[in-house]
């Protein structure tokens, strides 16, 4: 996706020069391989700092919350869905935004790449079309990008932005298989004992750094429940019960809103697949309400509407 870089610079320069936007949000090339740095520029003269490749997997929508200016922003399919969610939830207004849409061929899982070279240190990364090269002190490997996609990207059905002012290229095909939720189904089939074991093991290395929460555009509450002290909803130690409480509550707060963008998982320093929680809820919401988050501005998310004809008796 390297080739989008030039176009992004061009568009950002144009938008800033013409005063269409006050600021432009994208990425700067990172200082370590497979990591990039979210960037805001104001000056049309510094568009050369902008960069794009398949390692731009934090969710830029996260940086929109509460802004009052007019913003140009680069958005892939999932990011655009989070922007829609942000607009629907009144965190930003459509009229403030100029969305530069990226038809996305997926982000690379840096962890999978490191695993593939046996944990050896990667010193250089070079994207070459749909392949990429990694170099270490005494090795060099070329990989097919498709074999190293983040697990959410590998089954992404909406790689094209659903909301944009300008598109950077031709639309790309989305995933069409019917096994998007295979991982979730496996967990569903476990006995409740096994399932508890599965999730407990999964989060056993969690250090409660909250990078998963902080990377998520949905988590914009002025005071998160974990930070609340009166009342205190959850203990702050690394007691497994408190850690599990954090994860379950965080996931439920994202129900019907999560776009499966993968930023939470990408950000986790311990490599914990936290999407196993949110994805289950995505599946539930889809089954119960035929709903997928962030596909359009017209509809409100199912969990924040009240309908007199709700099929669930308890709420009527």
């Amino acid at each position: 996706m390297l080739h989008y870089t030039e176009k992004i610079r061009e568009i950002a320069g144009r938008l800033l020069k013409q005063g269409v936007v006050d600021v432009f949000i994208g990425y700067r090339k990172g200082s370590v391989p497979m990591m990039n740095n979210p960037l805001l520029i104001r000056d049309p003269g510094s568009t050369d700092l902008l960069y794009w490749d398949s390692n731009c997997a934090l969710n830029l929508c996260n940086y929109l919350t509460g802004r009052k200016d007019r913003i140009g922003i680069v958005a892939t399919g999932c990011v655009s869905r989070n922007i829609v969610t942000h607009i629907v939830e009144n965190q930003i207004s459509r009229s403030q935004l100029y969305v530069v849409g990226i038809p996305c061929t997926g982000m690379i899982s840096h962890r999978a790449v490191i695993r593939a070279v046996g944990g050896r240190e990667i010193i250089e990364f070079e994207e070459q079309g749909e392949r990429f090269l990694v170099r270490g002190r005494d090795f060099e490997e070329i990989f097919e990008k498709n074999d190293f996609l983040q697990s959410n990207c590998a089954v992404c059905r909406y790689p094209n932005p659903v909301l944009y002012d300008e598109m950077l290229g031709e639309r790309v095909p989305g995933y069409e298989g019917d096994d998007v939720y295979r991982d979730v189904e496996k967990v569903e089939q476990m006995s409740s004992e096994d399932r508890r074991g599965f999730f407990s093991r999964m989060i056993s290395r969690c250090i409660r750094c909250y990078a998963c929460r902080d990377a998520c555009p949905l988590c914009y509450c002025p005071t998160c429940f974990v930070d609340e002290s009166r009342p205190q909803w959850v203990g702050k130690s690394i007691d497994p019960v408190d850690t599990m409480t954090f994860h379950l509550l965080r996931a439920f707060h994202c129900a019907g809103r999560c776009t499966d963008c993968g930023a939470c998982e990408r950000a986790c320093p311990m490599g914990i697949p936290v999407r196993q929680f949110t994805k289950k809820l995505n599946k539930d919401v889809q089954e119960l309400f035929s709903w997928e988050a962030g596909l359009g501005l017209e509809q409100r998310p199912p969990l924040d509407v009240y309908r007199q004809d709700d099929y669930d008796g308890f709420i009527r």
Partner: protein, 346 residues
């Protein structure tokens, strides 16, 4: 005269095993994608083939969550509302395979927990009961910059023993009597001759000279705090930051904590947990006012503390051992090497 012992790699594994009857032995173990320190007694297999552990060993001396006191809220109990120290374990422990930067980090942290005026009894007791067996770095990572901040891949600061990996064997250099005591309890090995010592020294020299990064911090001492505080670059540095706890929790020199009471029924615990200056709650006042209410202020605090306030207060270098963990793991790629450069050249 400094004593050196040499062990074949197999011998060293059994030597470490033999330490178990005298210490809790922490060793680097491969755990999924990372190396982490683990307890030998939990059946973990030591693996000394690593660059550095993903998490620093700081929790061995300074646990992420620690029960300080316990108390009863039962009015019938004559001891109600009295804080009693919770049982703690200060038995001897050894960290075998700690990298020199992480040993240096304990020294940098010590000035905070062990001062003439205040001593944190638990940190100090655990620190004092620990023997640090370092492992010199034959292959520093590209993100390592220990040599820029007063350490080095074979630095001896804060170590009791330093191991040199010479391919098929380890050369152990005894640095303190504590280290000597540990090696006496480890079985096997033999006295090393001068050839091996010279081999180790030239290895250390070669690796140190080839260190990847030079991060300038030499000008920081003379800069004005206020000018740095008001520097124009903070907003740009902070933009990508998501204010998570990754950098501070992975950092061997970050020491901040929070104290919490947890009550169940009529009994309670007073717990100390790691905290992070990146969290909004860190500075939230009871009144609701937050002096560091936004992320730019928080990011600035982290770097100013590490690279300026600490330096000015203790004059013992910066509060960073150059381990590079925050650089490698920050999800937003905020890089302390670049920030140091910005500050140093302001």
């Amino acid at each position: 005269m400094t004593a050196y012992r040499v062990y074949s790699k197999e011998e060293w594994t059994s030597a470490v095993k033999a330490l178990e009857s005298h210490y809790q032995v922490f060793v680097p173990v491969k755990d999924g994608d990372f190396h982490l320190f683990g307890l030998l007694s939990e059946g973990k297999r030591p693996d000394f083939d690593f660059q550095n552990t993903h998490l620093s060993p700081k929790s061995i001396v300074y646990p992420q969550s620690e029960r300080m006191f316990e108390y009863s809220l039962d009015g019938e109990d004559p001891d109600a509302h009295m804080l009693k120290e919770a049982p703690k374990d200060f038995s001897p422990r050894a960290i075998v395979g700690i990298r020199p930067c992480d040993a240096l980090a304990f020294q940098r942290v010590r000035v905070n927990f062990d001062t003439p005026r205040y001593r944190d009894p638990w940190w100090v007791s655990r620190f004092e009961s620990t023997t640090f067996v370092g492992l010199g770095c034959n292959a520093p990572e590209a993100t390592c910059f220990c040599t820029s901040v007063g350490g080095g891949p074979f630095s001896e600061a804060g170590l009791d023993v330093l191991l040199y990996d010479l391919g098929d064997r380890f050369l152990a250099k005894v640095l303190t009597s504590k280290g000597d005591g540990l090696l006496k309890k480890a079985l096997g090995g033999m006295e090393a001759d001068g050839t091996l010592v010279r081999q180790a020294e030239s290895l250390a020299l070669k690796v140190t000279e080839a260190m990847p990064a030079v991060v300038p911090v030499d000008g920081l001492k003379d800069k004005s705090v206020l000018e740095l505080f008001e520097a124009p670059f903070w907003e740009d540095v902070a933009f990508g930051c998501i204010n998570c706890g990754t950098c501070t929790y992975l950092c061997p020199t970050c020491w901040c904590f929070d104290i919490q009471d947890e009550v169940l029924g009529k009994s309670g615990d007073r717990i100390r947990n790691w905290d992070s200056c990146m969290f909004p709650l860190f500075t939230l006042h009871g009144s609701g006012h937050n002096p560091r209410g936004g992320k730019v202020a928080r990011v600035r605090q982290r770097f100013m503390h590490k690279l300026k306030y600490y330096l000015d207060k203790y004059n013992e270098g910066v509060q960073c051992s150059g381990c590079g963990r925050c650089v490698r793991s920050c999800p937003a790629n905020i890089d302390i090497r670049q920030v140091a450069e910005l500050m140093n050249s302001l």
